[in-house]
Symmetry: C2
């Protein structure tokens, strides 16, 4: 069995408990279940894997949020209470109470912040590292880390934990709030859907 999470930048593949990234769709010989937030890549993917099953059509998820991304739904799908942060190209922050999605936030991902800064001015080059958000930045790099990762963390902390992180920058951000990093959080939601609905 192959699980595929087709995102804005990468396609994350889950096979035998392992996760790897591919940039372009490829053909798989196993049974494929997938989700997608990228229509173009999804089309390509389906040409190569015409029998792949879109789990969007099977998932059962409670929210009043309009057009919540299927990747966010899957990341939240196994969480009963807390905050789910998927830190990829974008950083999505979703709040769950007793299994019901309360709403969510979309911030730029850390790489998008980095690119935005340097576009504003050549001198605004951020090198991410952990900083203490309780003391005020005293130089440009700390000011930029605070003005990107720090803004995200301050907003996350407004909400009651526990904090569940996933995505490429999830591990880094989790350190700021003693959050739990779960690499396969989206895939856990996909597997739950398969077990319950298929």
């Amino acid at each position: 069995m192959i699980l595929a999470d087709i995102g804005n930048t990468n396609i994350h593949i889950y096979k035998n408990g392992k996760i790897f990234n591919i940039k372009k769709p490829q053909k798989f010989d196993e049974k494929v279940y997938y989700i997608s937030v990228n229509k173009d890549k999804e089309k390509e993917f389906l040409k190569l894997n015409p029998d792949a099953v879109n789990l969007k059509n099977y998932v059962d998820f409670k929210t009043n949020y309009k057009n919540l991304g299927i990747d966010r739904i899957m990341a939240c799908n196994t969480i009963q209470n807390g905050v789910v942060i998927d830190a990829g190209s974008a950083v999505t922050i979703d709040i769950i109470k007793e299994g019901i999605h309360q709403g969510g936030i979309i911030a730029p991902g850390l790489f998008a912040f980095k690119e935005a800064f340097v576009k504003i001015s050549e001198v605004l080059r951020v090198e991410y590292k952990k900083i203490d958000l309780n003391s005020l930045p005293k130089n440009t790099n700390e000011a930029l880390i605070y003005g990107s990762a720090g803004l995200i963390i301050n907003t996350i902390k407004k909400f009651k934990g526990p904090y569940f992180f996933t995505g490429g920058d999830g591990k880094f951000l989790a350190e700021f709030v003693e959050g739990v990093y779960i690499k396969d959080l989206v895939f856990r939601g996909m597997i739950k859907t398969i077990k319950e609905k298929l």
Copy 2:
């Protein structure tokens, strides 16, 4: 007398109590005082106005922050206590206690956020409007406003006011925290420097 604030994107000109923006340096017949965070535009500006006085060489400002931008120094220069937010290409947040600068933060400006979002995905198109940050977003546009303006506001609110806003997006952001919008805040700092030191 002309005051010029040479920024990353625009040059702000102050003349007879009025402020206007120019994109490219131009020649002035009056006495010119200026500050600059943009070396290339400053060079061009000085070619056209060789007698212009750089106020960076005269300002007296207390901080332990390394290489604090001269525009931020001037914006903070007339404030004794509170938070100074200059919302332009970047949003800078500086904290002042009893006339002493405590440190600061650099976030992307609202336009930079907007550009960053659409670069992540075509569907992430934000249209800024005031939202209630005490209720959780229930659609993409609110989620994006929260994930940009909202992140900035949540971080500002961590610090004790009053909140002094300036810059192109200052008025919009000030609404979220009942802040004071001072269009000519940077120029007030420049005028103070001229009065005290020249």
